[in-house]
Structure formats: structure tokens, C-alpha cells
Amino acid sequence: MKSSWSTDRAGMTRKIASIGAYIGISLFFLFAMVPLWWVVMTSLKFPQEVLQYPPTLYPHSLTFSNYEVVWNRAPLGRFMLNSLIQTGPTVVTTVFLAAMMGYAFSKHRFFGRDFLFLVVLSSMMLPVIVRIIPMYLMMSDWKWVNTYQALIIPELTTGFQVFMMRQFMQTIPDELIEAARIDGASEPRIFFTLMLPLVTPAIAAMVIFRFMYMWNYFLWPLIVIQNMDMRTLPLGVALFQARYTVSYQLLMACSVISILPILVVFMFLQRHFIRGVTLTGIKV
């Protein structure tokens, strides 16, 4: 009798705890969701409805004209193309170079390796703004201001990616590499046919991580790009917001359009996105 009473009590506590968990989660969910809801709803309203108080939580009369107006007034397609041209080569090269360096740092022994690695690693803590003034002078010396190469070339390496690649490659047993070396495989061959296939999950994660970073990259393009035609998507959105400060329905439509491409990619590759973020943290 007594024991059944105590299990009842335990079940009760568990139930209360679980209800508490649901309430807590709902609060976080609302916090994340409200701005997303608000931006989509506002983008579907007529201007009069946007400026009325109290605000309506959903459009009482629905319109898609804001999207049409935004698309016609701002060359968002061009901005997206620029962003793609910037992001594509950067992502591929960064990950490839990082894989090569990670291989050297994890599977080769040479004098000064750990020191060199530490130096490369320290660039992780290097704020972007520290690099920007000298890089801008460099770009203007080279006449690279307002060019794609100015967006791409300086961003081809990051300490973070090298660090992660080394971490992953350290988990691959040395015996495998040694066996291949004894069989007479050349180093490039070992790297391409043995190492790269073994770290495919890591490569996928690194690609996604770099893509997220570059797609969002704002500070350096802001400084090195001054032409309208060369603006990347974040610069374009910022410019649009500066021009149409109070046309909220247009600003919201513009924001939605800017989020759509990466959101579609995210929906299809969600698993890899989450894994991309988690892999980077878990291995430390």
C-alpha cells in the first residue's frame, strides 16, 4: 500500500516536471517564432494596415504586391548572384586548403609543427576588423577594390577550419597511413584516395559552416565594395533598409526574400546543418 502511494507521488512529480518542460519550451518557441511570424505577416499587408494601431497580428486583407515592388526596385537577383560568386569559390577552397593543412598537422612529424599549428590556431581569435585596415590598403594598392577577387581571395583560409580538420584527422589511425606509405603510395595519393574519403562527414560539416559564415559576411564587403552592381546580399538588404526606412511592408518583404534561399537549402539539408554546427563543438 505504502509503495504504491510513493510511486504515485513519483509519477505526479514527473508529470508536473514534464508539464513544466512543455511550458518552458513554449516560451522559448514563442520568443524565436514571434519575429519570424511578424516579418512574414507584415510583408503580406497593405501599407495602411501596417501603420495602424493596434497592429493586426495577421493581414486582414492579403497582398503579395510588396514582393513585386521590392523585386522591381532593388536588384536582389543581382545581389544574390554576387553573394553566390563570393561564397561558392571561397567555401570550396577554404575547406580544401584546411583539409590539406589539417593532414600535414595531424599525420606528419616535422620540426616546429606544434608551434606553427599554434600560430595558425591563434588566427581564430583574430577579429576581422584587425585585418581589415591593412587589407583595404593592400586591395587599393592592387586595384582590387570593387572586384570579386577582393571578396574571395582574402577569405580562403581560416584557423578554425584548419583546427577542426586536424581534430578529425587525428581520429584516423596512423597505421592506415603507414600501411599506405609502405605500399609505396605517394603523399598526394594518400591524401586524395585515403584521407579525403575518410573525413567526408567533416568536410560536409565544414562546407556548411563556411557557407553560413560567408553568406552572412558583412564587414569586409561593406568596406571593399562601393559599387551598386557588386553588392552582396547583406549589403543590398542594408542599403534597401537605409533607402526605405519607413516603408515597413517593403523592408519586411525584402527580409523574407533575403532569407528564402538559405532557408530552402536549410530545409533540405537540415540534418547536415545541425551536424555541421555540432561536430565543430563536440570534438573539442
Binding site: I25, F28, M100, V119, G159, S186, F266
Partner: protein
């Protein structure tokens, strides 16, 4: 004959070894040197000379630490340092604590709710920061903003938020928390899902309740990942720029001006490169110090 062949062979392997090292490290190191290491050196040099854009390439005079003295006498710079620290403390603290709480709660609910909530909370992480800032700027708007409307239900406001000297920085901080909470949550959730179960079973036998288990088992076990999250968030938040640039441009007054925003203005609006370089070297020093300090004093991972 045999000896010379062996020497040849040794030379060959030596050559191949260093050759391949050069091949693997060379290209990367070139880019690192050009766009990471050289800029740091150049920046240190620039922070010790007096110049402006009119004499861009010529006539730089060495002034030692004068630029550093200048920036620390500049009340605006001091204000931006304080703003950045306030922003960092709040966003790092809130994203780490709330991210961990949310991840813990998500463990207790059924998988489809977990996945759905994770997806929605992660959308701000992938959205363009510029676009999110535009949205929040509208939400904080005094007359038609959603936040003032919601606050009116509990009898508060309306507040001017981004035009208010006191509330502007909290507004930017709230946006920062919203943006990053999905990131920390996902990291913590992955860590929690991987925790070994035997400690919890042992604790069950000892009759520990959930809170005790969380405090005495979960927290120590996820300490390494917590460290990592804190360091990454600090490095990120000390460089906050985009949302401030879009939402307030540093205003009203200097209420939300951050270090990076001020460096940007000093360097590329007023073309005072010496001061801008000195500030950026200072920022680098702070970030480096915080990271090293953290790894040194809180870094040792507890192994069980």
C-alpha cells in the same frame, strides 16, 4: 654501390617528405601570411605612426604610443569599450544559460516536438543578420512596433527603444540573444544526447532527484563543451557590428556604439587610421587575453 643506393633512397624520401609538406602547407600558409599574419604586423606598425588619408603613402611619422594614449583619452572610445563589455556579458550569459536550459528541457519531450522546436529556434542562426536586424528594428518601433503593443497588455510603455538612451542597448542585446540562442542550444543538445547513461543509473540507485542529477552529473560532464561555447560566444560578441550598424548606427548619442563600429567609423569615415589601428590592436589583445585566460583557468576538462 649498395651504400650509395641507400643514400640516394634516403635523399629521395627526405625530398619527398619535405616536398609533400610544402605541397600541403604551402598554399594555405601563403594565404595565412598575406591576409592574417601580415595585417597584424602592419596594424601594429600603423598604430605607432601618425598619418591620414591625405598623405596616405608618404609622410608617416613615428609617434610611438601616442595613438594609444589618444584613444584612451577619448571618452567615446571608453564608452564603446563599456558598451561592448555590457553587450558581451549579457548575450554570452543569456545564450549559454538559456541555451543549456532549453536543451535540457528538449530532452524531456517527445522527438517530433524536439525537432520542430530545434528547427524554428535555429532559423535565426541561418537568417542574414542584416535582415534580422531590420525586422527587430521594426518590432522596436515606437508607434507601430509589436513589442510596445505586447507590453501595453501589462500596462507598460510605449517606449522609444532604439531612440532611448537607456533602452537602446538592451534592445540590441535582446536581438543578439534571439539570434544566437539556437546556436548554443544545438551544441548543448548534441552534447546532452551523447552523455553516458551509467552515471545516471548509479544516481537513480542512490535516489537522487532530477535537479541533483543535473547539477552533480550533467553540468560537470558537459563542462568542456560549455567552455567551448563560452569562448566562441565571447570571440563573436566582442566583434558585434552588423546588428548595431543596421539598428542604431551606434546611437542615440553613443549609447549603442560598439568597439568595431567605432573602429569602422574612425578608420573609414574619418580616415584616422592610426587611432583605428590602435583600437583594433587593443581589441585583438582583449580577445586573445580572454581566450587564453579561460583555457588556462577553466580549461582543464574533467575526466570521469
Amino acid at each position: 654501390m649498395f651504400v650509395s643506393k641507400s643514400r640516394l633512397r634516403r635523399w629521395w624520401t627526405w625530398r619527398q617528405r619535405w616536398g609533400s609538406l610544402l605541397l600541403f602547407l604551402g598554399p594555405g600558409l601563403v594565404f595565412f601570411s598575406l591576409f592574417h599574419f601580415y595585417p597584424v604586423g602592419q596594424n601594429i606598425y600603423l598604430s605607432c605612426v601618425q598619418w591620414n588619408i591625405l598623405s596616405l603613402r608618404k609622410a608617416k611619422t613615428f609617434v610611438g604610443f601616442a595613438n594609444y594614449v589618444y584613444i584612451f583619452k577619448d571618452p567615446v572610445f571608453i564608452k564603446t569599450v563599456i558598451n561592448t563589455i555590457v553587450f558581451s556579458v549579457w548575450t554570452v550569459g543569456a545564450t549559454v544559460v538559456f541555451g543549456l536550459i532549453l536543451a535540457t528541457l528538449l530532452l524531456r519531450v517527445c522527438p517530433w516536438i524536439r525537432t520542430t522546436v530545434r528547427t524554428v529556434v535555429f532559423v535565426p542562426v541561418i537568417a542574414l543578420t542584416v535582415a534580422s536586424a531590420v525586422v527587430w528594428k521594426f518590432m522596436f518601433q515606437i508607434n507601430f512596433g509589436l513589442i510596445n503593443y505586447l507590453l501595453s497588455f501589462i500596462g507598460l510603455g510605449p517606449y522609444a527603444w532604439l531612440n532611448d538612451f537607456v533602452l537602446a542597448l538592451p534592445a540590441v542585446i535582446i536581438m543578439g540573444i534571439w539570434r544566437d540562442i539556437g546556436f548554443t542550444m544545438v551544441l548543448f543538445l548534441a552534447a546532452l544526447l551523447q552523455l553516458p547513461q551509467q552515471y545516471y543509473e548509479a544516481a537513480d540507485i542512490d535516489g537522487a532527484n532530477d535537479a541533483q542529477k543535473w547539477w552533480h552529473i550533467t553540468l560537470p560532464l558537459i563542462r568542456p563543451i560549455t567552455m567551448f561555447v563560452v569562448v566562441i560566444q565571447i570571440i563573436k560578441s566582442f566583434q558585434v557590428f552588423t546588428q548595431v550598424f543596421v539598428m542604431t548606427r551606434g546611437g542615440p548619442g553613443d549609447a549603442t556604439r560598439t568597439i568595431v563600429q567605432y573602429i569602422y567609423e574612425t578608420g573609414f569615415v574619418y580616415w584616422n587610421m592610426g587611432a583605428a589601428s590602435a583600437m583594433s590592436i587593443f581589441l585583438f589583445g582583449v580577445v586573445l587575453f580572454m581566450t587564453v585566460f579561460q583555457f588556462k583557468y577553466f580549461g582543464e576538462a574533467i575526466r570521469y
